[in-house]
Symmetry: C2
Subunit: 351 residues, 2 copies
């Protein structure tokens, strides 16, 4: 029998992390009688006087959110990371290793209106978000080794406030995932004298099997090693190293790309599509200011949990936590669905 | 200011995986207005004529589940892994690495009654489950490199059938997590000439800060590097390498230990406590039959998602997926709560 990736289970390597993913396409046939998610509601008011992220509303700590008109950034009232904290005593026991952690956590509202999301905002409004990301990155990257910009969208992804917003956690150290990438990208560059993701973009453009969106500045693919059913990777085609080295044209194109990708996501299951997304680029701060970033390529990752419909998600549980990540449909099947679905017209605006 | 682990953020290293965990105890103060889980119901009937895991009920494929009286094992009707599958063509492109995957997936019912769970079964009944685990392990480990026994309990952990059961996925290869452990346990043994987890048990018994349950054969701790809020590690104190080298006394004691631990879990938030759990020990199959397993210690991991109550869970999302795992309360705080809560009397049986 001949091997057919869309039919036969196999493993694929994620070259960014060194971890293998088990792909089991035949498993999509399995019936599902487990937990159903609540589909995200689209009937929020544009202003909710009890939501502290809305302009003019008082936060739990008594501060009043100003009547902002575009984006609005403030320090998280319950930050995971704070700047001033005593250093833990160092330990020479390999089983009880502890290390210091300093940082700062910010919340960034995308828009004054609660009932918008990136796909229902205009490309111009999304560009304001991108410019604010860059502004924040400029400020925080001067001091911190890693600036993680990320959005948890939807209650299925642990988001506790429906107002359109993201978070920025800046750290005095390189966290696990970026540290792993730093090592693997550097090793690839050492061997091939090219950034890994630049080579990857070239190869995907030739193969044309996993492309979702393609324009002169950006490529969106379901990566060959995707873990989540409709995971995508948005990669700079311009050898950008960090989000703050994007030109005006690249930022304009990025806004259009994000609008198109998130519109496709919403249209796929006709719901406000939940995901976690975030940006990775070369490390920053005084520590990395003089190190080479030649091996890096700016990219964003989208991790959406939905598998079959607005209410049936993929659970990364038992086997995934204890052994390895396992996915059902193939990345090529997911890419085809995302490629073919309308990315220009949002399902809520079809009138 | 002096460093106090229960107050000040810091990072801890998981020596089994090499990954760091960010610990942010001050974050427990944060209010939660996000998703609420459905608390697990305890009002199932003991027999449900529509549930294919119940004795005498027909499965979707027409096979009738026999009228079993203790445990019952069958091949998963929708297996992620099958035995007969063509081999993928090998690739020399480092960005498109593919590898074969063969295996078999089984489902194991713990008990004929749908309304029982491990904590509400007797220790004798749990011992029958352990004996069946060993029976299955004996059979599958002869052929497969890795036999992953795991239980997804509760719909919050992706479990799609409330009947008490676990799964066994046997693989022709070492999955990511065991492979990582294999390397790190071997390296530790190379330096210290002792199994890492044997040293860890000794140290935890001295420190007495993270112990949940202790008896001559088993130690349960919230590990120093725990990721999930009430994660525990159940470790053999007898230099066992695999689940099938347990003596009768060790199995008896294991049944009592599992009953006590899961009773504590249920009592913590007065609900049927969801978790994913599974066993790790030395690799198996013809490939590993003659390799040394001296660096291994048999252990089980429990990963429960709940954080504050029966309905509020920890989400491993944005920052966790993109940067590193982050936890709120400290492992010592979690261990104290689990240690102090009743493990002998289940909250449903208090009359
Ligand atoms: O096979 P089940 O129980 O239906 O499926 C559950 O466990 C599997 C193994 O951890 C996961 O891959 C699935 O996402 C989960 O829903
Ligand atoms: O800060 P939030 O949005 O309340 O919290 C959310 O995102 C954080 C960062 O990914 C996670 O640690 C939390 O578990 C999640 O609920």
């Amino acid at each position: 029998m001949q091997f057919v990736a869309a039919e036969h289970q196999h493993r694929r390597l994620n070259p960014l992390t060194g971890q293998w993913v088990l792909v089991c396409p035949h498993r999509m046939l399995r019936p599902w009688s487990g937990q159903q998610e609540k589909a995200q509601e689209n009937d929020l008011p544009d202003f909710d006087p009890t939501n502290p992220l809305c302009p003019g509303v008082e936060r739990p700590n008594g501060i009043i959110t100003p009547k902002y008109r575009s984006t609005y950034v403030f320090d998280n009232d319950f930050p995971a990371l704070v700047e001033q904290v005593p250093t833990p005593p160092s330990s020479d026991d390999p089983l009880f290793q502890v290390a210091p952690a300093r940082g700062t956590c910010r919340v960034m509202c995308f828009h004054p209106k609660s009932n918008l999301t990136l796909p229902t905002m205009s490309a111009k409004e999304i560009q304001v978000v991108i410019d604010e990301w860059i502004q924040q990155f400029n400020e925080l990257s001067a001091k911190y080794a890693w600036v993680q910009i990320f959005e948890n969208k939807g209650s299925a992804m642990g988001c506790s406030n429906p107002h359109p917003h993201c978070q920025i956690w800046a750290c005095s150290f390189l966290p696990t995932e970026p540290q792993l990438k730093q090592e693997r990208l550097r090793a690839y560059y050492g061997t091939h004298e090219r950034p890994m993701l630049a080579d990857y973009v070239d190869r995907e453009l030739q193969k044309k099997e996993r492309i979702v969106i393609e324009n002169p500045d950006w490529l969106v693919v379901v990566p060959y090693w995707a873990a989540w059913p409709f995971e995508t990777l948005l990669i700079s085609r311009n050898n950008n190293k960090r989000i703050n080295d994007l030109t005006l044209r690249q930022r304009e194109n990025l806004a259009v790309t994000i609008k198109e990708l998130t519109t496709k996501y919403d249209n796929l299951f006709q719901c406000s599509f939940p995901y976690s997304m975030g940006w990775h680029g070369a490390p920053t701060g005084p520590e990395h200011a003089h190190a080479s970033s030649a091996h890096w390529t700016l990219h964003a990752m989208y991790y959406p949990p939905l598998l079959r419909s607005a209410t049936v998600r993929k659970f990364m549980v038992g086997f995934e936590l204890l052994a390895m990540v396992q996915r059902d449909l193939t990345p090529e099947q997911a890419a085809q669905r995302l490629r073919e679905i309308n990315g220009k017209c949002h399902y809520l605006h079809k009138d």
